[in-house]
Amino acid sequence: MQHGKYRFIVGFLAVPLGLYALFVIWPFIQSIYYSFTDWTGLSPEFKMVGFDNYKRMFDDEIFWKSLQHSLLFALLLPVVTISLALFFAFMINVGGRRRKGGPVISGVRGSGFYKIVYFFPQVLSIAIVALLFQFAYNPDSGAINSILRGIGLDSVQPLWLGDPGLALWAVMAVLVWSTVGFFVVLFSAGMASIPADLYEAALLDGASRFTTFFRITLPLLWDTVQSGWVYMGILALGAESFAVVQIMTVGPGGPDYSTTVMVLYVYQKAFRDGQAAYATTIGVALLVVTLAFAAVVMRLGRRERLEF
């Protein structure tokens, strides 16, 4: 297999690697470099300013707010989403009532239906989902407040996205809504590969479903949960939170910066305020947060690998 091997390797790698280096790797390196300059993005001239941008960032109140919100997104969203998804997936796959003559472990009736429906939001663009909920949250004519009026709660008419105390939670709820289904399906696939005799043994020992879940299902699913967690966290720090916050909240960034997140702040500084260098500085902070998040989750979640 040696004949012409290197020519072939180079020929096959050159285009994809070149494209990737030019549009992905090179801009990343440039970004880090620009964070030490006073580049505006509007003119090609700039000079080195050392750590000035970083000093400015540490004194920037809005930066701290955006960091706080981003951390909340990365920590709370996966916990809520994955817990809900684990509960649903367990009920769908294992939670069914024992039917006479049926298998020991079975899903609830209509499990296939639930999986199809729960997955709907996953195939829609997050931009479309955000637009839809922007209208649903409308205090006067939106779907949510009008349901509240319909069930007699006329006095409970929150402003949702207009309320600085509520806006961030309203935005996070949308991300939960749109991602739970993906994890339900993901965990269902994982649960299907857990051998049934483990459940049988637990059942014979008289274990409740609660015990079964925590002693059998969760440990055996742990790898999937962990990688799902990292995946969700990265999305919640990046593209997804950008779309929902930018589209849904006023400003964008919410009343009194109550929903601004790091990724949005980078965008605004670079493309709205003409402070490209400062934007890359915040971007570097976002990179640090993302890598730290992934490292911590992988580290905390490290357990003995269970083979079955």
Partner: protein
């Protein structure tokens, strides 16, 4: 998990009973009763969530058939009659037809490019030993965890200097570049699982490396290509951040961008019914495709995270 080593599509119908063996019922009266209460409780939650998923979508479909006045006065009432004019207004006046066309062009081009370039790189990385192989592999993989927004600030100027800003082919190239990390990651794992004997036999018979790849390995990798193709198709079709930054020309807008822009401008014009028609128009093809190709879509989207 052992299953994670094979990239074969996840069994789609995973809700099927895992065991066929029946054992004598261990259920005594108390346990049974507890089971029933739990059952009602859990079933209730499952139904509630299904409801919460479907209602906003149904509400959007319903609203797209109403006139503007009743959208505001009674959000949950059924439309008095089906206002199909909302849909035609959205399609023609609100430029939905252009947005669809742009999206199809961009996604079509980048999907083909991603699959061709991604499988070429993945094949070489999976099957050939050469200095720097690991380095290049991790360079690709690393792209999955970096925040894209950081690169987008200089990328805007890189693309601008090359004269590719606000062009369809420029957007295609950027989409391909940002789709490569996952594609290479997924397909490298896939090519590793394919038997090498067939390729060796072809090579002994005098086929070149290139020919072996296109005529033997690619057809063998079809299941993997389908999975990663669906994953990329949805990701690129639904992409919002990249076009928002790199594609600011109103005539070149893709679907997601166009809708957001429409929502902003309708704030002044007040054509909410037209906007909802546009939203539903953008939602329906993807949902319909999902329902038809349900198994493949689920396998394609979850396969990556399971590894």
């Amino acid at each position: 998990m052992k299953t994670t080593e094979t990239p074969a599509p996840v069994p789609a119908e995973s809700g099927v009973p895992v065991a066929k063996v029946d054992i004598p019922a261990a259920g005594h009266g108390r346990q049974k009763k507890q089971g029933n209460v739990l059952n009602a409780f859990s079933h209730g939650f499952l139904i509630l969530w299904a409801f919460m998923v479907v209602m906003p979508l149904l509400w959007a479909v319903m609203t797209s058939f109403k006139d503007d006045r009743s959208i505001f006065s009674s959000p949950w009432a059924l439309p008095d009659k089906l206002h199909f004019d909302n849909w035609s207004r959205a399609w023609t006046q609100a430029n939905m037809s252009d947005y669809f066309l742009n999206t199809i062009l961009v996604v079509g081009g980048s999907l083909i490019g991603t699959l061709v370039l991604g499988s070429m790189a993945a094949y070489v990385l999976a099957r050939f030993d050469f200095p720097g192989n690991r380095f290049i592999y991790y360079l690709f993989i690393g792209g999955m965890s970096f925040p894209i927004m950081l690169a987008l600030v200089p990328l805007f100027y890189v693309v601008n200097n090359m004269g590719l800003l606000n062009t369809i082919h420029g957007l295609i190239l950027v989409y391909i570049a940002y789709s490569l990390p996952f594609t290479v990651f997924f397909l490298t794992a896939f090519f590793r699982t394919l038997p090498s004997s067939v390729a060796e036999a072809a090579f002994v018979d005098g086929a070149s490396h290139t020919r072996t790849f296109f005529q033997i390995m690619l057809p063998m990798a079809k299941p993997g290509l389908i999975s990663v193709g669906i994953f990329n198709f949805l990701g690129q079709w639904n992409q919002y951040m990249l076009p928002t930054v790199l594609n600011t020309d109103p005539d070149k807008r893709v679907l997601t961008q166009g809708l957001v822009q429409l929502a902003v401008s309708q704030g002044y014009k007040g054509d909410w019914s037209g906007l909802f028609a546009g939203l539903v128009m953008a939602m329906l093809p993807v949902l319909a495709a999902y329902i038809v190709f349900q198994r493949q879509v689920v396998a394609g989207l979850t396969a990556g995270a399971l590894k």
